[in-house]
């Protein structure tokens, strides 16, 4: 049963991250997941100072608040004219450093860091179950990530056209009367919620990786957004299952193996993609050359 729950949890996280990752890559903001993984530090520091407890619920609440602050600040700076990468870099380093100061001033004698209190471990999901009225409802990670995925599918499904136009051509979207800023903030809010929820369940490396790699793989395989979203989710699911069995084989970290598998899938797409792959471009150039000769 452990196998099933871990692969399911990995797939749910990968699907949420994969869908959002597609939009982030198109907007050149793929590293926002990595940024959130650092910038939530002041959130857990405040949560600890206010609650005097390292209980997951408080840590999660603190992290969620600072996740949202992070993405809104990034979006705000970007709308103010700063490049996307620069605004991500500024916001997350400044917030992380703020967290370091808070902890060294107020809680230096306590074990309070992201790895210890927030980032979960996918290996243990089957034991962290949600018990309601004496009934074991299965791993709480599955519920949390399932809920997150549902929220993402709802938002993206209902406003697919708007999200799509905002990602590709914000100027045209604005001209069509779509509130572009609102959709940018909505997207970033979804990113924040899903990354923080996933950090708590499966750990940081898995989220940061799944937010970028499957979407980048899909990007190489198609030029259509709907197909890209589908490929991204499939690549994430295949990485979860393949990575899990690789971890069994190697007796290694499960999250690590899942992301390495995603990396291998990306490499395959990078070389063999019929559209943008290295091999396809090489063949095309050869054909052009021989045609010219």
């Amino acid at each position: 049963m452990a196998d099933f729950w871990i692969i399911l949890t990995g797939t749910l996280a990968a699907a949420s991250c994969g869908i959002l990752g597609c939009f982030l890559i198109l907007r050149r903001m793929a590293l926002v997941g990595d940024a959130i993984s650092h910038s939530v530090l002041p959130g857990i520091a405040f949560a600890f100072l206010l609650s005097d407890s390292r209980d997951s619920v408080f840590m999660l609440a603190g992290a969620a608040v600072f996740g949202l602050i992070t993405v809104f600040l990034i979006q705000f700076l970007q709308r103010g004219g700063l490049q996307a990468d620069a605004s991500i870099g500024i916001v997350f380093t400044a917030l992380f450093a703020f967290g370091v100061i808070l902890i060294s001033r107020n809680a230096s004698h306590i074990d309070l860091d992201l790895d210890c209190v927030l980032f979960g471990e996918i290996a243990y999901v089957q034991w962290d179950t949600w018990i309601l009225n004496g009934y074991d409802l299965g791993p709480s990670a599955v519920w949390m990530l399932g809920g997150t995925l549902l929220l993402i599918v709802l938002c993206v499904g209902l406003f697919y056209k708007q999200f799509k136009l905002c990602a590709f051509d914000p100027a045209l979207a604005l001209a069509c009367g779509i509130p572009v800023a609102l959709f940018h903030y909505l997207l970033m809010g979804l990113v924040s919620v899903s990354t923080v929820a996933s950090f708590e369940s499966v750990g940081a490396i898995l989220v940061v990786g799944m937010l970028i790699i499957p979407a980048a793989t899909a990007y190489l395989l198609t030029d259509r957004l709907s197909v890209m979203l589908l490929y991204s989710v499939v690549a994430g699911a295949v990485s979860s299952a393949g990575g899990y069995y690789a971890a069994v084989w190697l007796d290694s970290s499960i999250a690590g193996a899942m992301i390495v598998t995603a990396g291998i899938l990306f490499l395959l797409a990078f070389i063999f993609s019929p559209l943008h792959g290295v091999a396809a471009r090489y063949l095309k150039r050869r054909r052009l050359k021989s045609a010219a000769a």
Binding site: C116, Y124, W127, D128, Y135, Y160
Partner: protein, 324 residues
């Protein structure tokens, strides 16, 4: 734009997702079995499978369980339990265990949550559980509910941990209660002797030199129990950052009090201590690295610190040798 025609309607997508989640819910619904916690071994010849998080706990479980148990450790030598990352094999080690022992008091970081949850499914015991909270060190600024987990450096606390392990084994396997009791008695005798030995050895250090300077705050119980002032550069967590003021303060303290040696730790890099030593040298005070202490994990098998008792003895000998 033609894809808009072929794409599923939003509501179809939502319906699909909902049905997937319902399926998961149905698969996952099982009545919680309470038998795990109260399970008593039903005879048989096979050994009791015990899984322990850190090496020191594995060692005690082996000493007390003897031939009745088969102990599997999760964290090997040199591993920092606060930041431990599980491998796939660890799932099996925890899943197949009859009894799981862990340190508790948040020693195992985020994994503590899981170990606490595991208590409802199988016999999972924190070895620090029977120590009177008033004897535990609470973080200065932690409001009293967050405790220092490094209990093994006060041998008296470790005796309580050994008794907790005996009690757990006896409850699970009453048939062999007598063997467990005998082994525990013998082991506690050894621990009492070790406690005396530490007091005698520390007594050999001149009183004003009884200052233990290390990289990380793991020796609080040791200092409290055996009368040494303990100064660390980092907080209790190995991941907390130390500030430049901390380095400066520690340097000034060393110079003012003429402390001869500082110590590094097996699971922490030595870089931070080197900065302090270099600073003291600039002020004309020579401090040497007194040696490496074992803090959060034991030495590798075959080294002079591959059991709990040897590890503590190694630390005490290293400290006394450098400071006397």
């Amino acid at each position: 734009m033609h894809e808009l025609r072929v794409k599923k309607s939003p509501f179809q997508r939502v319906k699909m997702t909902l049905s997937i989640i319902m399926l998961v819910a149905v698969v996952g619904c099982t009545k919680v079995e309470q038998e795990g916690k109260s399970a008593v071994r039903s005879g048989g010849e096979s050994k009791i499978k015990v899984t322990a998080t850190i090496g020191m706990i594995s060692d005690v479980a082996e000493q007390i369980g003897g031939e009745e148990v088969e102990v599997t450790g999760l964290m090997g030598p040199g591993v920092d339990p606060h930041l431990y990352k599980a491998s796939q094999g660890d799932i099996r080690k925890l899943d197949q265990a009859d009894i799981v022992f862990y340190g508790g008091l948040h020693l195992e970081g985020k994994m503590t949550d899981i170990l606490e949850k595991l208590e409802s499914k199988k016999r999972t015991v924190a070895v620090s559980g029977n120590i009177d909270p008033s004897l535990l060190r609470s973080g200065k600024d932690a409001g009293g509910t967050q405790y220092d987990p490094h209990i093994w450096f006060n041998v008296k606390h470790w005796i309580s941990a050994a008794q907790t392990i005996e009690q757990t084994l006896t409850e699970y396997d009453p048939e062999h209660a007598e063997s467990y009791r005998k082994r525990t008695e013998a082991y506690i005798k050894q621990l009492d002797a070790l406690d005396q030995e530490i007091r005698t050895k520390i007594g050999m250090i001149p009183e004003r030199s009884r200052v233990l300077v290390t990289a990380h705050d793991a020796f609080g119980y040791f200092g409290e129990a055996y009368g040494m002032k303990v100064m660390g550069l980092q907080g209790i967590s190995t991941a907390a950052e130390y500030g430049s003021k901390d380095v400066g303060d520690l340097r000034d303290f060393l110079v003012e009090n003429g402390i001869k040696a500082v110590f590094t730790e097996s699971s922490i890099p030595t870089k931070s201590m080197e900065a302090v030593i270099a600073g003291a040298r600039e002020k004309g005070h020579e401090v040497k690295i007194g040696g490496e202490l074992y803090s959060d994990s034991m030495g590798s098998p075959g080294s002079d610190a591959d059991t709990y008792i040897k590890m503590v003895r190694h630390n005490v000998d290293t400290i006394v040798e450098a400071l006397k």
